[in-house]
Symmetry: C2
Subunit: 348 residues, 2 copies
């Protein structure tokens, strides 16, 4: 059998390869690189083909495809969301993604994206906070200490200069796990016994809880003037974390309004409630924080462009450093019209 051509072999970054890549660069440096790519791509937002995500719902979860393209590269992510998976010892969210060349349609990268999504979500939160949080913020409350928590803590350290993280989870075992994993990371870690205690003295409040239907992690009286809220956990219809009254007091910033109005905290508000698109703050077209007493809220749900930024970062890194397998995924007959002949000759 003739060996397949270079183009027919698609670089594949396995879970193990992703872990080795992240560890060799360092988690914080990887978060900084992702933040740079995400900010670059948000600044050229109008260049992207923005398709709404394509969801297939069942009684127990959802499977989604999230495509986008900048005209040179095309990317998509496959991602599921199955809250009941955790009880079965499975991940609530697993993901993989692909990058392809628009000019030929040939894939150039297949990558695990469970770890990469955790990294890009945290990097996006930090990019938003760098633009919106009060100047000199050093203390962050981190409410919800599950799979995303450590990534958030490290992104805010690496990108926003956070020095203390105040941890709270309804399950103390989750807080203990988070504190254990972050020991030695250079952060002051303060485990707390309530959300109220966690937000004491915090300039940034990150909510990243899971598996809650219309939960109220924060009530109105808990949130003082001048804070930045990074609301990560409310990210699908029926799943919110903040009391509606906080939303009406806050200046709200979002990724892509048509998606956030369905999936984000603002699903609790009127469909014409004013929101600002983060990309416009990053380009300077819209104002971010304009008053030290203002409550800013980043209502994050995750958007395809962030995955695109993450995939192109990995694509560039493996070109530099290697670490990808090559998958024989694309049939590549010598004569493109002779697909059947290729099959025939494979038997000879």
């Amino acid at each position: 059998m003739t060996p397949p051509s270079h183009r027919a072999l698609v670089p594949f970054v396995s879970v193990e390869a992703m872990m080795r890549l992240v560890l060799s660069i360092g988690v914080e440096e990887m978060l900084r690189r992702l933040a740079t790519a995400i900010e670059e791509d948000f600044r050229r937002w109008p260049a992207f083909d923005k398709t709404p995500r394509v969801a297939s719902h069942s009684d127990v979860g959802v499977i989604e495809l999230m495509p986008t393209s900048d005209g040179a590269l095309y990317g998509f992510k496959y991602v599921n969301g199955h809250p009941k998976n955790m009880k079965e010892g499975l991940q609530t969210v697993t993901a993989f993604g692909l990058l392809a060349e628009v000019s030929t349609g040939y894939p150039v990268l297949l990558s695990e994206m469970t770890i990469l999504t955790a990294l890009r979500t945290a990097a996006t939160s930090a990019v938003a906070a760098r633009a919106l949080a009060p100047k000199g913020a050093r203390v962050m409350a981190l409410i919800g200490n599950g799979a995303q928590a450590e990534f958030q803590a490290l992104a805010f350290k690496a990108i926003c200069g956070i020095a203390e993280v105040r941890l709270y989870d309804i399950d103390p075992a989750a807080t203990a796990k988070c504190a254990r994993n972050l020991a030695g990371a250079g952060l002051t870690l303060t485990p707390c016994r309530s959300a109220e205690e966690a937000i004491l003295g915090a300039q940034i409040i990150t909510t990243v809880t899971a598996d809650k239907q219309y939960a109220t992690i924060l009530t109105d009286n808990m949130v003082g003037a001048g804070v930045h809220i990074n609301a990560v956990g409310g990210d699908c219809p029926g799943k919110t974390e903040l009391h509606r009254d906080i939303l009406t007091r806050a200046s709200i910033f979002v990724e892509y309004p048509p998606q956030t109005r369905i999936e984000g905290e603002i699903q609790q508000l009127a469909p014409d409630h004013p929101v600002t698109e983060l990309w416009q703050v990053l380009t300077g077209a819209a104002r971010g924080r304009s008053d030290p007493r203002q409550i800013t809220l980043f209502d994050s749900v995750g958007f395809a462009i962030e995955d695109f930024s993450a995939l192109r970062t990995i694509h560039a890194l493996i070109a530099e450093r290697g670490g990808a397998q090559r998958l024989d995924m694309i049939a590549d007959p010598d004569d493109p019209r002779d697909l059947y002949g290729m099959l025939l000759r494979a038997g000879a």
Copy 2:
């Protein structure tokens, strides 16, 4: 590093593995198995989640995602269409696909689909013809002798009992390639010098040309009463093969009307021109051929359910026979909330 669990390793069928699988079963037997799966799935058509395909267009081609689900399994195909690729020695169409479990969202199969799409397209054509072509059809005209041609010839032999194939292509080299590849397959092969000559005595006319904008492969006067036309090549906006007058004389059968009205031959007709859905013919809910003088036309564009049928066929075959690699594609921490801990421990 702890080895990943069984579920975290996704079976992958490479191009080479697909060729070995097809050759070990035999092309005709594979086509028959695919036809069985496609017919089963068309008969339970209402059970499927039918999302329109999600296309990303550029000046030189298109990249599409085609998802569907039957409530137990979810499948999607990635496929590009770049007519100019052939001149660069690349495939016009390349594809891969994935099957996942709806109950957990975990992938259960990743597979090459360039070869598999060629097989399922031919099997679908034959399933339609078995229901629509005149009884006892033995002679097929095959107009367009490119990458799909041999698969069509063998599917019509294996599934419809075609004994003679009359070949024509605008490029005699394509016809010669096709005749060479099919020598010894048990078909009488008759190379022809024109489309008119190819359709002489044919009860079935298959048109499967590529890279043509509003071409007219068949004109009205060429098509006599009683034939079945299998129109495969007209499959995207601006790409058709048949003169409009043939369409108005024919009884038209389609896969999924909302898609075919945009992509198929019937894009030339009014949006309310009557068509019959193939699945309804297969269940008996609608009539197929009702008159020996009737011209039946299967306006095939390819639908996600056919890819689903093909993927589940391959999934069952590799469970029986092996042949898949296992890809470390899904992150699988021992504690689902401890994704960061898994990363940390990988460095230890």
